[in-house]
Every structure is written in C-alpha cells, then in structure tokens.
Assembly symmetry: D2
Homo-oligomer: 313 residues x 4
C-alpha cells in the first residue's frame, strides 16, 4: 500500500514560458498530490477599475505560471495525467478587462482592422461563497453568478522551443478550456524527461470563446494529483470527466480547431475502444458535442466530447 504524498509548491518566481530550461520547483512521484498557488493573468496588477491593462501589464509578461513540476520517471512518449482536485480563489476579488487590440469582437493584432479601437476597461467581481457579483458600469445593474473555476493554462514543456504562456500547442498551454476544472482529469503529452508541468491563469468563470479576451481572472490555490501512463503517447491534450471523453483541438481558423478535436476524438475511439473509424465518424456526428474554448489567442480551441455511456461494454 502506498500513501499519497502531498507536496506544496514553494514558488520563488513565476515563469512566462513553457520550457524545460527552467529549474523544477519540485520533484514528485506519480501518485503525489501537488498544491500550487497560482497568480492571476495580470500578475496581481489589476485590482481596481483604474488599473488599465496598458498601464499595469506588459505583454508578454502576463499569464505567470507555477511550476515546473518534475515528475520522476516521466519520459518522452509517456502521457502525464493531471487529476484536478480543487481550484479555490485566494482573494475576495477577481477581475476581467478589455484591451485595445485583443478580443474576438474587436479589431485586434491578429485580425487587424482600421476602425477606431474601443476604450480599455476593467470590471471587478466580488468573490464570496462560490459566487461572483458583476456590477454594470452604466445603470448599476448587479448580477450574481455561480463560480465555475478552471485553469486557463496548463501544460508540459515542449521539445526544443521555449513557448510563451500566452501561446498554446500540443504541449497544452493557454488553452482556456472550462473543462480543465475540478473533478476532471487532463492528459498531456510528455516531450522531455520529467514532463515539466506548468499551470496558472485560473479563471473563476468564462463564457464560451472568452469573447472579450479575458475571463474572470483570479489567483488560486489549486490541488492536482499526478499520474503517468508509461509508454503510451498522445499527440495533443485530452480530458476526461465522469461523463465524457474529450479531445482538445487547436488551430486557426476556428474550423481547423474543430477538425483537430474531432479527428483526435475519432482516433481515440478507434484505438482505445475498438470502433471502426467510419462508425466512430458517424456516431460522433450524432452524439458528439463540441465546446468552444477560446476565439482570441494565437490558436483557437475547441473541445470535442463523447459521452462515456455510448462507449459500450
């Protein structure tokens, strides 16, 4: 019998890239539970409505990452499992903001237009008893909304490159998928010895697509349990909930993210559950759902989902 060991990360500094060149914050074994404190996307800089992002943050020094966590025994070609046990807010306030050149519904640096930009703005949300309170800037309307916390960024170190925590790819990163929440397990490819897991950018809540470019951004205390699937690789992140198998697709345009997610899901059904590819194609076409993660980052994300109840015996 093995006791579960709990390791609390002591994070001297935070990182803005996914890379195996950063020194591990901790070395843990598969089966260990890790507690991480994560900073919010603004590195704690935006705490009032006058803390405009252009004044308080400097890209690319946002989305600070906790870790890296070195997982003993993890080797390239393995798969790292990350069961998310809990994601708890550590402050009484969370924030969301609009930048001048970022977001799905504005002229942005990636979809440039010559229209005049919107003004920057910050909204603060109070956090209490699992609920958020939104207050309109005009008219004073308030809305109380249940939190649905998740990790905006989580991933392993890529091979060769050092990748900004604003970016995303097969290693994970800034996926902004609400399914990275407590109760679910992520599967991530291992590209380097030790895997080098990073996590951060907790979101108290986010709508589909992260329309305005930021979620309700919060600092967190997050608990995860690590596991290792040895000798079995995956080519991009997957997620499992009690009810569903999910594949995360990334790309631009958004239909390419959709295609990537769906194809990975089909291969999963074929390789692990014995479906013929065409049968899987047909069945997913009718019972599969697809949630939009982000439509704002360097790659968009879509999560393709398949109900476990249709996997068969």
């Amino acid at each position: 019998m093995t006791d579960t060991r709990t390791v609390e990360l002591e994070q001297d500094r935070y990182y803005f890239t996914y890379s195996a060149k950063h020194p591990p914050t901790a070395r843990v074994d598969p089966g260990d539970v890790v507690i991480a404190r994560t900073l919010d996307a603004s590195v704690g800089a935006i705490r009032s409505e006058s803390d405009l992002p252009s004044l308080k943050t400097v890209r690319p020094y946002v989305n600070p990452q906790s870790g890296p966590i070195f997982v003993n025994g993890a080797m390239p070609g393995d798969t790292l499992s990350v069961e998310i046990l809990s994601i708890e807010p550590t402050e009484k306030v969370a924030a969301s903001w609009v930048r001048k050149d970022f977001g799905a519904l504005v002229a942005s640096s990636s979809t440039p237009m010559i229209n005049p930009p919107l003004d920057e703005a910050v909204w603060l949300y109070t956090v209490e008893d699992g609920k958020l309170r939104f207050k309109a800037k005009k008219g004073g309307r308030t809305v109380e909304i249940p939190m649905k916390p998740f990790l905006g960024t989580i991933g392993t170190a890529p091979v060769l490159e050092e990748i900004s925590s604003l970016n995303l790819g097969p290693h994970g990163g800034n996926m902004d998928c609400p399914d990275a929440c407590a109760g679910n397990t992520l599967y991530l490819p291992v590209f380097v010895e030790g895997a080098y897991l990073f996590l951060g950018d907790a979101h108290a809540l986010q709508g589909d697509g992260e329309l305005c470019g930021s979620a309700v951004e919060m600092s967190s205390k997050t608990a995860i349990k690590l596991g290792l699937v040895r000798g079995r690789g995956i080519s991009s992140p997957r997620i499992e909930s009690p009810e569903e198998r999910m594949a995360v697709g990334m790309g631009r345009p958004l239909e390419d993210a959709y295609r990537a997610a769906q194809k990975e899901l089909l291969l999963w059904l074929r390789d692990d559950y014995g479906f013929d590819l065409m049968d899987a194609y047909q069945l997913v076409s009718q019972v599969g759902t697809a949630r939009i993660g982000n439509v704002v980052s360097q790659k968009y994300t879509i999560v393709a989902k398949f109900p476990k109840k249709y996997l068969g015996a």
Copy 2:
C-alpha cells in the same frame, strides 16, 4: 376572444429554393397553428444501406421544403415568430450518410484537397418510442440514443434572390441548429409581404457541427404556431427557449459565424434590455454559451446564448 385555428398544409409539391415566387400552400393568420409534413433531406430516396447518395440523390434537389406559408399581414420590416410545438417522426427509420465530397473532416468541394476520397456510406437508425438505435457497420455494436428532433431548415423568402434550401442567410434556411426544436420559438426577418415561411429537413438527432455532413435525417409531422411582431425588424434569425435568448450567427470561417452571433446578441441586450454595450460585452464574455450548428454548409452556424435569469428585472 380568438380561437386558435389549426391549418394542415396540403403539399402538392415540395420546393428546393426559398423564394416568394412559389405559390403559397396556405394563407394563415398570426396566431394560427400550422401542421406540416416534411420530407427528409434525401426526398425519401435513402431507405437502405445500399441507397448511396450519389445513386439516389441529385444535388441541388435535396432538402425539400414544405410551404411556403403566407402569413396575412406580414410586411417587410416585421418579424415572424414561429413557436415549434412538436416535431414527430412519421417513419420507423431514419438515415445518415457520408458523401464523397462533403463533411467537416474530409476533403470537400468547399475545402478541396487532393487526398483520395472516403467511400460513400449510409447508416440506418430505427426509430421507436423516442429512441434511435445505431448499429455499427463493423463489429455489430448497437447503441440506443434518445431522439432530440429539430428542423434543419426553416426560413422566410429573401428579397430579390431565389436561394437553394442547401444554403442559408439572414432569411434562415439550412442552419442546422438543434435549438430549432419543440418548446422553442424562432424569430425570422420578414423581407416580403406574407413572409413566405418554408420548413423542412427534420433531424432526429445531430451532434455539434453536423460533422459528417448529415444528421439522422427523418420525415416529420411538425406543428408550429405563427406570430407577428409588427414594425420591428431583426437582421438575422433569433431563438428563444424557456431558459435562454439566442442569436444565430452565420459565416465562414467559423470565427466569423461566432462573431456574427455574439454581436447580434449584444445588440439585443442593448436594445431590448437596457444594457450598455460594453457591460453586455463583458457579461456575455463570462456567462454566454455558444453552440456550434453546422461546420459543413455554405455558411457555418453558431448559436450564441444568454441565460434569461441574468437579464434582470
């Protein structure tokens, strides 16, 4: 007091375009209930696994439409409301198929590639007691799935053009949005006197995006209740469920459909519910959901949704 009148359409022929040039099948008043029989997308031609679409169907003579229904008093600039009361299968079998050059995950006529095509294939589903039975072609696995019927195509006559029922636009048409289901109400722009409502292409079930290019296609007996919002126009279709307000966005690439849906939703919140546009932008970014309709047709569709409970008093 007015009694609700029920009008059963007697459909001598079916139409493959949305156009006010077709003679009305019926003339009804706002408040009337209309019962329509709709044919399946294949015009009833695909009823066995050997009925391959290339043998049995000829594009663009698919997606046959019932109607047009002339709504007395409907004038350009009005909005037609269509409350869907019921959509019932009229046969014991429904079908789905894969064409050689159509679908989100294959080289298609709209995303051409030079890879070899897949083989055509048809899957039959039995329909019984509100359930569908899928049978895998290889391995014999069967899966029982609850039906979730909806109308794949519904819309009014456009101005000037005569538009194929395979296409879609501000008038509606081949949107393939599962939210066009019983219990919900669609709102459609009126472009010509009488509105000229068409409907068809009932789906017993469809996953998000209609991945393989066809849903579980069925013939139906559909009951709708018509209404008219006079003197208030909308620029594209909207939907209302008991829980949510929804705007249908159309376009390519998929992010443009997402943008169209979200912007329309924001304008709705601003114009009808007194939100400041920026506050609406922020709130939708956190509580809005977005369902993918189709990723296969000439325009893709995304339905942006806002929970009514956050609309305020």
Copy 3:
C-alpha cells in the same frame, strides 16, 4: 466561311440577379461578337464626393448586369468561352467609395466587430487617355495611374437558383478578378439551355483583393466574342491569357479559395495536358502564381496561374 456577326445589346433594363428567368436581351450564335453597355456598380448614382453610398444606393440593387445573352445551341454540360475584345470607359469620371460595413480592413457585416465604423467616403477619378487621376482628400496630392480595365462580374445562369449579382459561385458572378480583361478569354460552365450570359461592374483599376470594397468603378462599352465548347464541361470558371492558363477559386476563408483554384488547375493539367497529378502538384508548387481577386465579397477569389511555356509540346 462564316462572317463574324456583331450584335449590339439593346438593354431596356438591367438585372440584379443571375437567372434564366430573365428574358434574353439577345440571341446570338457561337462566333458572334456582342457589344454591351454596362452601368457602373452604383447604377450611375455616385458621381460626386457627396453621393455617399448609403444615400444613393440600396443594396442589393447594385452591380447591375447587362444581358442575359442567349447563346444558341448552348446546352448544360457545355462550356461557354468569352473572349474579351475591349472594355472602354464611357464617361470622363469613375468613382470608388468606402461603405460603413464593407471592406477587408474594417468591421463588416460578414466579419462583425463592435469597433466604431469608419465614415463613408467617395473618391472621384478623372478618366482620360487611358489614365486615371487620383486626388487625395487631405493634402491635395494627385497621382496619375494607367487604367487596367476589366469586368468585375460576368457569369452564366445557375441551375435552380436566382443569385444576386453581389454574390459569386461556379456560374461566375461577382468575382472581381483583374484577369477578366481585354485580350483574355474566360471559360464558364453552361448550366441551362442558352447559357444566359450576364456581365457588368466594369472596373477601371483594382488592387489585389479590392481592399476597401470597391474598385475604380466605371460604366463601359464592352466587346466580347462568344464561343462554345460542346460536350465538355468545367466545374468553375477558367481564364486564358496569351501567356497563362488560370483557374478561379472561390471560397472562405481565403485559403479555401486558394485550394479551390489550385486543385482545379491541377485537374486541368492532368486532364488536358497529360500530367500525372503528383507531377503537376510539384511543378505548380514551384512555377505557379496565385493572384488575389477579392477579399470582401460573400466568397473570396484567388486566381491560380500556370505559364503556358511549361505545358510542354
């Protein structure tokens, strides 16, 4: 021996849709030369800088078409050839304009954003001796530029549908490809008996992509010579210049237009010039050029080009 007959179109009215339902303006034989007067895209409404498009034009009643020309003997499955002999301006002024919600570099109805719109504006160009004179609104700079006239819209009647002259498709239409110029020959699919050729929307000049949404729009006197390739169909428009074979690709996103053009070009090289498909793929990859037609309309266009000198003996 046959004399070339010249037919001058007497255009009582102009059309805003491509459709075989419109009565032919003339019936001609293959080999005939046709002279058409075409109106500019604004139907002659924009002739000063204060003629703002929102005041003077009503969409979709723009892009008026001359024709239809019924070509005797043309049958579905044939290909219509249109040799463009000349396109001459008929006025001393041409115009270009910016609408509030149209163009590649602004929030538009197809790529919606919530940024404030640009102001509408009109620029007038003087037309003289084959040259255009541009005058800047601010600072007074003037630039003299050679005209390069072409037809923005040209096409045949589609099957089943009646398609706006703002739209485009396998039948041609609003392609906005500068290669539709004098000296070149277009090949268009014939879908209905008589082909029903339409043409209009002459451009005195246009940059790649029609960035701002309108070219230098002019009225024209255009001469074309018609021909018929019997029993040999094509699936989308092609163009031939003295130096190059070209295929017009249409679609969204822009890479899908690129793919469509390139695939059609490869099939052409394979079917008409004996190339193996893979060899054609390789050779086109190195010597093929691709010109961007429009990045503003309902479908974007790209023209893939192959130098005749590499076709071999």
Copy 4:
C-alpha cells in the same frame, strides 16, 4: 571614410530555434557585409528520390539556421536592415518533397481530415547556369526553369521565447516570401541587444503559397549587408525593392495575413510619407498588389506591395 568589412561566418553548428540564448557566430558592425553558408531545409539529408522525408528528417530538426549574427549597437526598438547582395547555390542539385501530412492541398496536421494520405515523394532538380531542370516522375517530361533564389527563413531573436525555425512571427522566421531575394532589403524589428540575426532555408524557386509544402530547397552561399535604423522600431518585417515598398503580414486564416500586411502598409504610408490614412486606404485599394508567401506553415504570409512611383515627391 569607412571601408566595408566582409565577415565570413564560421558556422560550427546550426540552430533550429530563433533565440538570443545561442552564442553569436560573429559580432559585426552596421555596414559590414556578412557571408553565410546555409544548409538546405532537410539539413542535407534529402539528395535522392528515395530519401523520403519521414526516413531522413526528424521534425522539428529541419530548417537549420546560420548565425546568430550579433550586430554591435543594435538595441531593442531599433530596426535592422538586411540588404541581400547575393544567394548562390553551392550544389548541383536541389530537391523538393511531399510529406504525408503537410501542404496546402492535403489533409495536414493543422487542417486535419480523415481521408487517406498521399504517398511521400521527392523530386530532384539539377542546378546549372542559373537554371533548374524538373523531370516528371511519370512520362519523363522535362522542364527547364530559371532560378529565382531567396531566403525562406530570416529573422531576429524574439523577446522571451525560443521559437522554432519552422515557425514565424514579428521577428521574421519561416516566412517563405520570394521577395527576400538579392537586390531587396529586409527590415526586421530588434527585440534584444545585438539583434541576433539568423538566416537559412534558401529556395532556388517557389510558387505562390508553397503549395506542396516545400520549395526547390537548396544549400547556399549568401551575402548580406547589415544596417541599423536607430531609435525607430517597426512591429513586423518589411521589404524594399528598387520598385516597391512591402509589408509582410502573417496570420491564419489567410485573410488575416492579408489584413496584417495591408494595415502595416497603410501605417507606413501614413507615418513615413504623409498620406492621410483614408487616402492611403483608397489608393492602396487600387494600385496595391499582394503576393501570397506561404499557405502551409503555422502562420500564413502575404506581402502587400506599393509602387514607389506613387509615393510622390
């Protein structure tokens, strides 16, 4: 008076990332000429038709880069100019190839499909007297084509990240723009002290879009002359030829690359040549051209071009 110094790079190893962490191969002054030997994209591994890329290369260890060149005095916010003096082949053979999952016209890792893949293949080109000889695999046809050599990859070190030489961004990198040729000058942003210039991936010839995913790949001896524009930054690469000013746009979908290039060009005309933005928008719309660089890499590229003759006095 200063003599031009010529520095020949002695390249002990080649790099697969753009990063200021690599030790400079040489330190040079603005005004110096640098001679670099570049390896071909396959690192010299593909030299016969049986050298299939999946056998001979391992991604991401392709596109080897020469450099980095440390430019004395270059500081963040400066602009580095790179005048390309010559690009000469160093072998009698060049090669192009098709991978299974890469290219604009096949199911790829970024646009996944479930069609069967194409077979891998390699084409060898002989290089002689400035000409390439293509030989068809089937039928034996040969075609002689003039070389038009350019650098597929060139760029500076980015801030924070270490970016694969297969990728591209504001720092340049794998742009695959044929305008990076002898006679032209590139302008690149400087993000780190010394700029850290890398270059490689010479192409003997490439069609618009690099359709099949590889150009005619060659090793080269390349001469460049470096310069520095102090205190004036640019946000993305620009190019100047004797006839034209050009801005390189990158992004996905392809229309976003088009938008990025055009907007940068407009800002250039406004800031350096005194155009009002709207006048520039109008004039570029009519006289601007736009060349497609690549439609295969992680970001697509389009080069927007403006004729110098219209810049005015």
